[in-house]
Amino acid sequence: MMDALPTLAAWLAASPLPWLVLTMLAYTLTLALYRRSGAHPLLIPPLTATALVVAVLLATGTPYATYRTGTGLLSFLIGPATVALAIPLFAQRGRIRQLWRPLGVALLAGCTAAIVSAVLLAWALGGTRETLLSLAPKSATMPIALPVAERLGGLPSLTAVAVAVTGIAGAVLAAPLLRLLRVHDPAVRGFAIGLTAHAIGTARELQVHPTAGAFAALAMSLNGVATAVLVPVCVAAMPWLGR
């Protein structure tokens, strides 16, 4: 009986199930809280659920690598979810065909603004080269931003945090900022939010307004492609950034 507990603890530590259950429970609980709060931006699940998960990992002394391996199933599903973005894009095919020129120009302007503003702001405030490179692709969705940063010499897990901070900041700032700029067209609103705040902003818009959600999904997928192409170009154009 006394030996059973350490054996059980060892089994639990080796099994992916506790980490999978922890993550899914944290998500469902914080999602319910978020909905009950009337979609309060500071309660969005990527922020609150992650805080809960990290608190449990720190309290139990669990290394991040153990947790990461245990939740591999969830990370793996990012792949098919990225493929599934083709469906909201397909639903908007008529408008894309009609508006491809303004959308393309706005995409180039927004994508360049995202990369250059992040790198220059961090550089001006004394960020190290690794931090700058990890920040560069932060407006792209995670499955795109992580390999882009890694290829240039950034730290992928730091990029994941930068992507999350940007997504949360974009989702929180979007409503007041766009009201201030008097942007009311849901297509423009959705496109700006999807380009800036990738999947986090898009998931929020999809729950709010169908047109804004579709344009957010469109901007997120287009910005994924644009970021993969433009980050190496922008970094090469600013060779004085390294320290």
Binding site: Y64, L74, A160, L173, D185, A187, P232
Partner: protein
């Protein structure tokens, strides 16, 4: 009282599993095709993104979205935030660096997001200023 409202048709009671299975098979297959294409042509894109473009091309050729795919993809996309929690929890590896560089990190994240939002929204609104009639309206169905 409870039994009175029980649905007659049992097969309609729960979400259908088989259509979901078909949808996931298609999504995984397109991701596989995308990964293969990226490896083969040495494209500077993640494989899943190439898979998304391939699925989009297939849907354009087919002309409509199969219902099973539409429902499963919708559910998956609305809960995409769940899938990112493990990656974001990686913040715990970088507490030291963030303690040292929190100012550039947060300013780049937050001010950068505000700049990106403003530049994108302004550019697109300015480019669409003359096309009020082609612009989608608030109540238009998607």
């Amino acid at each position: 009282m409870i039994g009175a409202s029980r649905p007659r048709q049992v097969q309609r009671a729960g979400p259908p599993f088989l259509p979901m299975l078909y949808a996931f098979t298609a999504l995984f297959a397109f991701q596989l095709l995308g990964e293969l294409l990226v490896q083969w042509l040495h494209l500077p894109l993640p494989g899943a993104l190439a898979g998304m473009l391939l699925l989009l091309a297939a849907l354009l050729a087919y002309g409509r979205v199969p219902e099973a795919l539409e429902r499963t993809a919708g559910g998956l996309l609305q809960n995409m935030m769940l899938l990112f929690i493990p990656a974001i929890a990686g913040v715990m590896l970088h507490f030291d660096r963030i303690a040292r560089e929190w100012l550039p990190f947060l300013v780049a994240g937050i001010a950068g997001a505000a700049i990106t939002l403003a530049v994108t929204a302004w550019t697109l609104r300015w480019l669409l200023r003359d096309s009020a009639d082609t612009r989608p309206t608030e109540d238009e169905r998607t």
